[in-house]
């Protein structure tokens, strides 16, 4: 009797658990009538308020909801800035200080209960002024203030004024800022303190300046982070924090035609199949937050997400030795996209450190000691490129002959020679050097061990310090590290971002975390900062890069090359390095998606 009861209980438990899980309904079943884009996000979203975000994932989602004045052309390469909410490119005064921007008429904010009657109103020039003033407002604590610091006439004074306000509600946004005015409802005028050639790409094409309805800002208060009301093709349906975010097509979106012109090979690749059709194509976009690679990879193989990067552990499953797809991937009609990311990674030296800063042979010895080819082979399955300098290959000003200069050469013999010279400068044996790693995970531990192995091989002692990201940042920003592993990704297709990393006025906590100073470099930086794009500026960029490389403030290691996979039903997936608001271009071939289930059965 009792055995029977126990057995029955055990069976009931197992059946219940299996019955609960057994209903693994495929999302694609429910997508039969709607075009749904399904993606993974590898970290949680921090917020969807465009004025205060810098992280890639938040920008990815928010840029589908909110739009900027300008955007990058989806297909053309090199990257070309084109109007989005602006009617045309700005009219720039002869002294390069005044930008007059005409705004498209008939653009409406998404419907939301913050508006009277719930109907979104028309976008006006004042909305852009409001967006920029919010960034200047100290009570708002935007991460984007450095973008405008000292740039627009009267904006710094507005920031000073906000400091005197007691509470955020006390800030008067109707207060005039001389450099931000609306000529009329559809004309925005920006006056600069000094020429800022990157204004359009750095600020006006950046999500930070995307207008968000002021009615929403006032209505939702601090909860605006989860109630973005923009003008974009999609609107927020649900954001379950830490879990998923779902957008639906904005029924009031004005509609934009898919580009009719592209780069070479785009037509053959099918990127122009939808030319002239009105976007967006998808009805819904869902991002599921998946912080571990295994589930994301399995969901991709099951066809439950449309695209995926290749996790390191699954690389051999997906890619052959000849850098092509494996037969298993081809059988699933999976496609591979490769593209160079505008990023550079390095082992940086703190130039204020008494041991490293005064000893160029020591810094160069460390640089020569590292086998970058091996590093890329071990850590990135050989995918990345050796960084011979710091300007990423994607940039127009990338120096194609930089490799010949030999700054990234692996030469342990030369490194040992330089080390002897370094010891003479130091006046004896060099002390143990400390290397800060920006994390305690396995990647950072392996990287730390790798770098240590090569540096100690030439006769130096190194201690690797693994620390969490905030501690690491604090040490770097307070200029107390000796060597540090780091990297940067350009936010615009111009090398100015990279040059700024070596300008002495931007010492840590600014972007020059090497605390590097070279008067000649500084002089040239001040020159290029106010120069518009030209062959002369490109020449100066290359000259500046060589000046910095000669001083060796870092051992530059690699440029990232991204290998991304997608299912063949996921259309118009052309990699874009500055991918804001891309969901409107994407289309799902519903028939192919439906067929995948059958294909999976056959494979099994």
């Amino acid at each position: 009797m009792k055995h029977k009861e126990v057995r029955l209980l055990a069976i009931a438990l197992v059946v219940t658990i299996f019955a609960l899980g057994g209903c693994d309904s495929s999302p694609s079943d429910k997508d039969a009538d709607e075009m749904v884009l399904r993606h993974a996000l590898f970290t949680k979203l921090k917020g969807l308020d465009p004025g205060n975000m810098r992280d890639f994932y938040s920008v990815t989602v928010a840029s589908q909801i909110c739009e900027t004045l300008y955007q990058y052309h989806f297909l053309k390469r090199p990257y070309e800035i084109i109007p989005l909410l602006a009617k045309e490119m700005p009219e720039i005064s002869d002294d390069f200080l005044t930008y007059t921007i005409k705004i498209k008429k008939g653009v409406y904010f998404q419907d939301d209960k913050c508006f009277p009657g719930g109907r979104g109103r028309e976008l006006k020039a004042e909305d852009f002024i409001f967006a920029i003033k919010r960034i200047a407002d100290i009570k708002y604590l935007s991460q984007n203030w450095s973008m405008f610091d000292g740039k627009i006439v009267g904006l710094d004074e507005f920031r000073e004024y906000t400091k005197s306000c007691e509470k955020p509600e006390d800030v008067d946004y109707s207060r005039k800022v001389e450099g931000l005015t609306a000529g009329d409802d559809y004309t925005l005028v920006i006056k600069l303190k000094k020429p800022w050639p990157q204004l359009v790409s750095t600020a006006l094409a950046d999500i930070a300046t995307a207008p968000i309805a002021k009615e929403a800002v006032y209505s939702y208060g601090k909860d605006i982070v989860s109630h973005p009301v923009g003008t974009g093709p999609f609107m927020l349906k649900e954001w379950r924090r830490g879990s998923y975010v779902e957008l639906v097509r904005n029924p009031k979106f004005r509609g934009e035609p898919y580009p009719s012109q592209g780069g070479p090979g785009d037509a053959e690749a099918g990127y122009l199949d939808d030319a002239g059709k009105i976007m967006p194509f998808a009805d819904r976009v869902i991002w599921t937050i998946i912080e571990e690679y295994q589930p994301a990879w399995l969901l991709f193989l099951q066809g439950k997400i449309d695209n995926s990067p290749i996790p390191k552990d699954n690389y051999n499953e997906a890619i052959t030795e000849t850098r092509d797809l494996t037969p298993a991937m081809k059988q699933r009609n999976i496609r591979l996209k490769k593209f160079t990311d505008p990023s550079t990674f390095w082992l940086g030296f703190n130039m204020l450190d008494p041991v490293l800063g005064e000893n160029k042979p020591l810094r160069r010895a460390i640089s020569y000691a590292i086998d970058r080819e091996k590093f890329i082979e071990i850590f990135f399955n050989g995918r990345h490129l050796v960084a011979h300098g710091f300007v990423a290959p994607l940039m127009d000003s990338y120096n194609p002959n930089i490799k010949e200069k030999g700054y990234a050469r692996y030469d342990p013999v030369k490194a040992r020679e330089l080390l002897k010279e370094a010891e003479q400068i130091h006046g004896g044996k060099l002390p143990e050097l400390k290397m800060a790693m920006p994390g305690t995970n396995s990647f950072n531990r392996q990287l730390g061990q790798f770098l240590k192995r090569y540096i100690t091989a030439i006769g130096l002692d190194v201690e690797v310090e693994y620390m969490d990201w905030p501690t690491y940042m604090e040490k770097v920003n307070s200029r107390s590290v000796q060597m540090f592993s780091s990297g940067a990704r350009a936010s615009i297709p111009d090398a100015e971002d990279f040059m700024g990393m070596f300008y002495s006025k931007y010492w840590a906590p600014g972007s020059n975390r090497f605390n590097y100073r070279n008067p000649e470099f500084d002089k040239l930086y001040e020159k290029i900062e106010v120069m518009f794009d030209s062959p002369r500026r490109k020449e100066l960029y290359r000259k500046m890069e060589l000046i910095a490389l000669e001083d060796c403030p870092a051992a530059f290691l690699n440029h990232r090359v991204v290998f991304a996979l997608h299912h063949d039903w996921y259309k118009n997936y052309k990699p874009h390095a500055f991918a804001y608001g891309m969901s409107k271009y994407r289309r799902i071939d519903m028939k192919k998606r439906a067929e995948y289930k059958e294909l999976l059965k056959k494979i099994k």
Binding site: I17, D24, P27, S146, R240, S243, M473, E474
Partner: protein, 312 residues
């Protein structure tokens, strides 16, 4: 008993104060300044100073009515934890996360306790037999396998290969569907250690004189096991079970992360990683209160199951 409960509740005041002081010291004095991070890329020192002022980080740490510690203390006492670094109300965050966390940990925990106590009784009864040896072997093996391996194995085979469960959370699934596999994994992974513990407890009881006496008097096995052995083994069981209950609130980090369950375990670890002091403070404070409360419940339970224990 009422006087005892009141006295014990009063003891919680210094404990909670100690917890608040400790979290404050750890994250304010040792953890350092968060304004650098908030300031963002390329911020000037002036911007950083402005942020420090806005967050009240320029105020004295202790010795003032408006000090950082007094404000920290006030916010904890009023359960007004403010907003997290992502500007969401912390209390909303906790309310949202507690459901999924408990949906995962409660069934997992109680299934593990019921199964392991029941099995422990059985294996203790057949001690020394092949079944007992096999149970011990499986327990040790289960304890030796890393938790992550159970997760990876379960997710790959049960969900991906055989399609019995969903691989991951999806908005189209009900909570019961997406927690089923993690619960199953949690039960399997948790059985080894628990069964081994309860088996030891049961064996201690089985060797007692009263068990021999009961069998000698002709009581049947079921009555001896459930009426006498289980009742006498309740003290260590209660200690283990009741004191573990407050931790259920904290969820399960790995399971939540691998199956996309938006619970509190994951939130807590993320808050530590991003030095979201406000979230850590709230969670530590609530956990401390729950722990003290369940400690009291444990003591009360002792007196209920064992008449020799009285609360004074």
């Amino acid at each position: 008993m009422t006087a005892y409960i009141i006295r014990r509740l009063l003891y919680t005041i210094p404990i909670v104060f100690g917890v608040l002081l400790l979290t404050f010291v750890l994250f304010t004095l040792i953890g350092g300044d968060i304004s650098l991070e908030i300031a963002g890329k390329g911020a000037t020192q002036e911007t950083i100073d402005d942020i420090r002022r806005e967050y009240g980080l320029n105020k004295p740490l202790f010795l003032a009515w408006d000090s950082q510690f007094i404000n920290h203390f006030k916010s904890a006492l009023t359960f007004d934890f403010g907003r997290s670094r992502d500007r969401e109300l912390i209390i909303d965050k906790i309310k949202r996360g507690v459901g999924p966390s408990l949906a995962l940990t409660v069934p997992m925990f109680f299934c593990v306790v019921i199964i392991s106590v029941s099995l422990a009784l059985v294996v203790a009864f057949v001690r020394g037999s092949v079944w007992d040896t096999l149970a011990v072997f499986i327990c040790v093996a289960g304890m030796s396998i890393p938790y992550l391996s159970f997760i990876l194995f379960g997710q790959y085979f049960l969900a991906y290969k055989w399609g019995i469960f969903p691989v991951f959370f999806s908005p189209d699934l009900t909570m019961a569907q997406y927690v089923a596999l993690p619960v199953l994994i949690g039960i399997v992974a948790g059985l080894g250690g628990n069964l081994r513990f309860y088996r030891t407890v049961m064996l201690d009881e089985m060797r007692s004189d009263y068990v021999r006496t009961a069998f000698a008097k002709g009581l049947n096995t079921r009555r001896v096991l459930f009426k006498h052995v289980l009742k006498n083994a309740m003290i260590p069981i209660i200690t283990r079970v009741v004191l573990a209950i407050p931790f259920l609130f904290l969820g399960s980090l790995l399971l939540e992360r691998f199956f996309g369950i938006p619970g509190l375990g994951h939130m807590m670890i993320e808050a530590i990683g991003s030095r979201d002091y406000f979230v850590i403070n709230a969670m530590t404070y609530i956990s401390a209160i729950l722990f003290v409360l369940f400690n009291l419940i444990t003591d009360i339970c002792y007196s209920l199951v064992d008449p020799r224990i009285s609360l004074e």
